[in-house]
């Protein structure tokens, strides 16, 4: 009865080709890999397994040291320790997003993309220093072949509450936008429409220090970033009661909109429940279905508690 929003594209190639999670080791001195989804790039995955990063080392270590998300448009630029292996795999760009609970690093999500001339989509990091009157500006972005959209984005600034970046910034809440081709920032909307970018996921990235960061994943039908999105609100546990997650929004290429019926989840229940309980991001192959190659569950912290979990399936 309800219309489908995401086209079913079983065969389409994913915009993001590898996803991994790095977490602090027991001593809290190095980041070690806890999850990795490599799809076609198994060799890169095996090459990565032995690695660990101290603060400041490699891309995950740099994210940790600088306390902010970083996008590397060219993994050959010197930061990326596994550059050779990435080159062999044809992975050219990487985005790394820290998950912080206050000043404490809980993990780093790394997403790798392939040929910059193939596929339309966008992974962006927006930044504001939060000074009075400040705006959100592009800190970094990987756009695949959406070159014109990239140029427009570099020239666009979002005020508080405006557009996906400004909206997430002001509300400190993840958002899933359906229709990037209308309104906000006019020029950017127009070129988003032209580039075929339809669905946009915006996630606040809390970081130590006074700055605000927002991660946006903009998806096109042909090379979707994800085929299913889920936004969970978490009511923190207190007074001895368990936390509860409630699905507040979502889209699926098969099930359609996910917000109509009430869905709740307990801590530790599935990957989303695990992200909720541990506060650490999760990336894994979902069990019990063959529909997806992998999924990410990214927790968002505020005031020392997990307040949201954003999950995407691809």
């Amino acid at each position: 009865m309800q219309a489908r929003i995401l086209d079913t594209v079983e065969t389409a190639q994913s915009f993001i080709q590898a996803t991994e999670i790095w977490v602090p080791d027991a001593a809290g001195t190095r980041l070690v890999r806890s999850d990795g989804l490599y799809g076609l790039h198994g060799a890169f995955g095996s090459d990565s397994s032995g690695h660990s990063f101290a603060m400041g080392q490699g891309l995950p270590g740099r994210v940790w040291a600088e306390g902010r998300p970083i996008i590397l448009n060219d993994v050959q630029d010197g930061t990326f320790v596994r550059a050779d292996s990435a080159e062999r795999a044809g992975l050219t760009a990487a985005a790394a997003v820290p998950v912080y609970a206050g000043n404490l690093i809980k993990g780093v999500l790394v997403m790798l993309c392939g040929d910059p001339d193939f596929g339309v989509g966008a992974i962006e990091v927006w930044h504001s220093n939060n000074a009075p009157g400040s705006v959100m500006e592009l800190d970094g972005g990987f756009y695949g072949s959406a070159k014109q959209f990239c140029e427009v984005s570099e020239r666009t600034a979002f005020k508080r509450g405006q557009g996906l970046p400004g909206g997430v910034w002001a509300s400190k809440t993840p958002m899933l936008m359906r229709d990037l081709g209308r309104g906000y920032g006019f020029v950017r909307a127009e070129s988003a429409g032209a580039a075929g970018l339809t669905t946009g996921l915006g996630i606040p990235v809390p970081a130590p220090g006074g700055s605000s960061y927002v991660l946006t994943l903009l998806s096109a039908c042909a090379t979707p970033i994800a085929r299913r999105y889920e936004l969970w609100d978490v009511v923190p546990g207190r007074g001895g009661q368990k936390a509860i997650g409630a699905l507040v929004d979502g889209l699926c290429d098969i099930d359609g909109p996910l917000w109509g019926t009430e869905r709740r989840i307990q801590p530790w229940q599935g990957p989303v429940g695990r992200a909720m309980a541990t506060g650490v991001p999760v990336a894994e192959v979902p069990s019990g279905t063959h529909r997806y190659e992998g999924m990410v569950a990214l927790p968002v912290h505020a005031h020392g508690e997990v307040t949201h979990v954003v999950a995407w399936f691809f």
Binding site: Q2, A3, G167, S171, T173, R182, G237, G239, Q241, G256
Partner: protein
């Protein structure tokens, strides 16, 4: 043949009704669904996420062509029913006539448009259906476009947030004092406003719209106060009216809505009605929950089954991503109710339960609404909560959880926040000194950072920084809080109002973690004063927070009558004024006319209801209020000085008049009495006043901190200056310093004893720059507050304050 059911309106209510009908008996009726909108049933509630881009229209369609097909519903969309012919049992649309056996009217409501000049301009729109959303989206596609939303209720705010997300500059105009006034109290509305302002949505409360301006299209909105907001579109969301036109024309019984019985039958047995268009037992509804119940009932009625609609308690949520509010039941204040309040300033959480006879009757929550449903069910069930009172506010999950940390307000201060204003010491510096230097006591912090070494009003704050930094290692000396609503002292509150830029009563109470929803008779007058003294332009005086004398602008006497004292500048009057006073005394039967110690005429025994008329008479003769009742400048007493006295050294009368004209009308922590004597013989008794000036050959000796009440005190010398101008400047600067720093209800001498005369001298005598700044701030405040309350109130004779049955709950001895 099947019976013909015609449904007018494909909205939320009729969609539900048809579902229930087909579930129970799919074959009884052949249904025709007629809708004025050119589309079928969709979820109107979710229009706001469509506006914001967080949903698509396709997602919110509830019944599509397949569904109508499966259920053999004939649809006529884009056709309004223009007439009902009850005799022939047909409805008429532009495409012809449709016959019915049963007719279901579910026409919803029409948005109410304020009949303002310019309301018919292009670009002025309601917010009701998808077409409105599309019109707003078209506007949002223009670059740098601006929207004005009239109405700060649920619909208006959802529209504002959606338009903002689409990139428009948005202003919300709301006529009441706070947003969503029907669903929220002032504290919750404060947090909501803060949330919206974080999205750069401008909120203007107490905004009376005068006109919408523009030639063809809307260009701007004009308010009564002269403010103009440019606008490319104006969204009017000020209310709805049940859509009853076709029913009325057909002669069906109408009240505010189409009148129905418990089974949803109208006055015509063949016609039923549900939704926002109906009135049931005097009630009309604007939320969807009761309409769904009506849908259930009407489906049964259509199948000749018994059913009755019963209204239930409603709750509200706002569908703006990231805004978390909940409101249900009744939360007006009342003597028979009590409040349970919880605030967490750091997280922006406010929760309030209203209890009556051990039952929850209302709940308002902001920032954490997880327990909303539980409270609502307790309200509905009328659960006796006496057994769980202490933990009730924490919801069902509570099992000994943490209490609010009283230090939270201080802990939440950023490092740059100035703690010690005198010496410019910020929180970060104090914390650093404590941790780096291993400091554990106030004195050590004073010695190292200079914080709290001058006026000392920040002592409490420095101690709390110590406590926050050291944890259990610091033993807090016991302090006296402002009142049971808070753990903070007056001095802390004053300092935090400045440091955190708190500009309204709800802001202070939320950010400083007040334990009550709106304060008490002790803290409200104090906060009202602190706010108006620190933010004269931003804060609007709250007369309800004043003592009865200040509210009525006259001194209440022990028999409940009032005394009226006209101002006489410097104690100088003339025959015309005296005649007016005498006339007023006769006209209003004043039992006693008496001279006061401050050289004024006191009319005693005036009845409250006579006050406005008497003031009007005195005003007409040029007399203004003497403020004999206020915490502010009372009188400036003078002697005759050089004009008439052979000992006079300076023009003491002239100076007194100048000072009184400069200082009158300003509010202060306590009353201020002044006097100017022309020579040390001191006929004006200047040396026992709050400020006393004694003229000498070389100039002016200014003394401060005198008193002649319960305490008897001679002034202490503040300065001796050669010129009259300097004497005026120092006096004004002193008054402003006192206004900005003293605890409410501390007379000047008490305050000076706390901060030390030396510090006062530094501020107003030695530091010329600071003196000038104090004078400038005083003058700024006077630009707002130097108004004659008599003139203001005499013109509004029907002012509720002056009806005989006034509330004397806060009487105060005349001093």
């Amino acid at each position: 043949m099947k019976e013909q059911l015609v449904v007018v309106g494909a909205g939320m209510a009729s969609g539900r009704a048809l579902e229930h009908l087909f579930e129970s008996d799919p074959d009884r009726y052949e249904v025709t669904l007629i809708n004025a909108e050119p589309r079928g049933n969709y979820n109107r509630l979710m229009l706001s996420p469509v506006l914001s881009g967080e949903k698509t229209y396709e997602e919110i369609v509830t019944h599509d062509d397949d569904w109508y097909g499966e259920n053999h519903v004939t649809t006529l969309f884009g056709h309004a029913v223009t007439r009902i012919d009850r005799d022939r049992r047909i409805v008429v649309t532009k495409s012809g006539e449709t016959a019915y056996d049963k007719l279901l009217l579910a026409t919803g409501s029409a948005p109410f448009m304020l009949p303002l000049p310019g309301a018919d301009l292009e670009g002025v729109m309601p917010y009701r259906d998808l077409d409105d959303v599309n019109r707003m989206l078209d506007a949002a596609e223009m670059n740098e476009s601006k929207a004005v939303v009239i109405g700060g209720g649920l619909l208006g705010l959802e529209a504002a947030a959606g338009l903002r997300l689409r990139g428009m500059d948005v202003v919300v105009l709301h006529v009441m004092g706070h947003l969503m006034d029907r669903q929220l109290d002032a504290s919750a509305a404060y947090l909501l406003q803060k949330d919206l302002e974080r999205r750069d949505i401008k909120v203007h409360c107490k905004a009376n719209t005068k006109a919408i301006l523009g030639s063809n299209r809307v260009e701007a909105v004009l308010l009564e106060d002269g403010t103009v907001y440019p606008a490319d579109i104006v969204v009017m969301a000020v209310g709805i009216r049940p859509e009853t036109r076709i029913a009325r024309d057909a002669g069906i019984e109408i009240g505010r809505g189409i009148i129905v019985d418990d089974a949803m039958r109208t006055s015509d047995p063949h016609i039923l009605s549900i939704g926002e268009c109906v009135e049931h037992q005097g009630m009309v509804y604007g939320l969807v929950a009761p309409l769904y119940d009506q849908a259930k009932v009407v489906a049964k009625t259509l199948l000749d089954e018994e059913a009755a609609f019963k209204p239930v308690e409603l709750s509200t949520k706002l569908k703006v991503t990231g805004v978390d509010l909940f409101s249900a039941g009744d939360f007006a204040e009342g003597d028979d109710r009590e409040d349970i309040v919880f605030r967490d300033p750091g997280r922006g959480v406010y929760k309030r339960l209203v209890l009556k006879d051990n039952r929850i009757i209302g709940a308002v929550m902001y920032g954490d609404t997880a327990d909303g449903a539980w409270f609502l069910s307790n309200i509905k069930d009328g659960t006796d909560v006496s057994g769980m009172r202490d933990t009730l506010i924490f919801g069902p999950a509570f099992a000994g959880g943490a209490q609010m940390d009283p230090m939270a307000a201080v802990a939440a201060l950023p490092d740059e926040a100035e703690i010690c204003g005198c010496n410019g010491v910020c929180k970060g510096k104090i914390v650093e000194a404590i941790t780096a230097g291993g400091l554990t006591t106030l004195d050590q912090v004073k010695a190292v950072t200079k914080a709290s070494t001058s006026c000392g009003t920040c002592t409490g704050l420095v101690e709390q920084v110590l406590a926050v930094t050291l944890g259990d290692d610091f033993v807090m000396p016991t302090v006296k809080p402002i009142c049971p609503c808070s753990d903070l002292t007056h001095e802390d509150v004053r300092r935090l109002i400045k440091a955190r830029e708190l500009k309204s009563m709800p802001a202070v109470m939320q950010e400083l973690g007040w334990k009550t929803s709106c304060g008490c008779h002790v803290c409200r007058p104090a906060l009202n004063f602190y706010l108006l003294a620190d933010w004269p332009l931003e804060y609007g005086d709250d007369s309800q927070s004043r003592f009865i004398n200040e509210r009525a602008h006259a001194n209440i006497q022990k028999d409940g009558t009032f005394s009226v004292v006209p101002r006489m500048w410097g104690g100088v009057t003339n025959p015309r004024e005296l005649r007016a006073i005498a006339d007023a005394a006769e006209k209003y039967d004043v039992p006693m006319v008496k001279m006061t110690g401050g050289q004024r005429v006191d009319l005693l025994g005036v009845k409250k209801e006579d006050l406005p008329a008497m003031w009007a008479d005195l005003n007409a003769a040029g007399l203004v209020s003497g403020h004999a009742y206020s915490k502010g400048l009372r009188t400036v007493k003078t002697c005759v000085g050089t004009d008439f006295c052979r000992f006079g050294t300076q023009d003491s009368t002239g100076l007194g008049i100048k000072l009184e004209k400069r200082l009158w009308g300003s509010w202060s922590p306590h009353k201020i009495k002044l006097a100017v004597s022309g020579c040390p013989r001191n006929c004006a008794e200047a040396t026992c006043k709050d400020i006393g000036i004694v003229c000498v050959d070389s100039g002016y000796q200014i003394g401060v901190g005198g008193a002649a009440g319960m305490d008897l005190k001679e002034v202490e010398p503040l300065a001796s200056v050669p010129s009259e101008q300097e004497a005026i400047d120092i006096t004004v600067a002193f008054v402003q310093l006192y206004r900005e720093n003293a605890k409410y209800l501390d007379r000047a001498y008490k305050w000076i004893a706390k901060v030390g005369l030396e510090w006062v001298k530094e501020q107003v005598v030695d530091d010329l720059g600071n003196r000038a700044a104090l004078v400038a701030r005083f003058d700024l405040s006077q630009s707002v507050y130097q108004v004659d309350p008599w003139a203001e109130r005499a013109s509004t004779a029907a002012h509720p304050e002056f009806t005989p049955l006034a509330d004397f709950s806060m009487p105060e001895a005349a001093q």
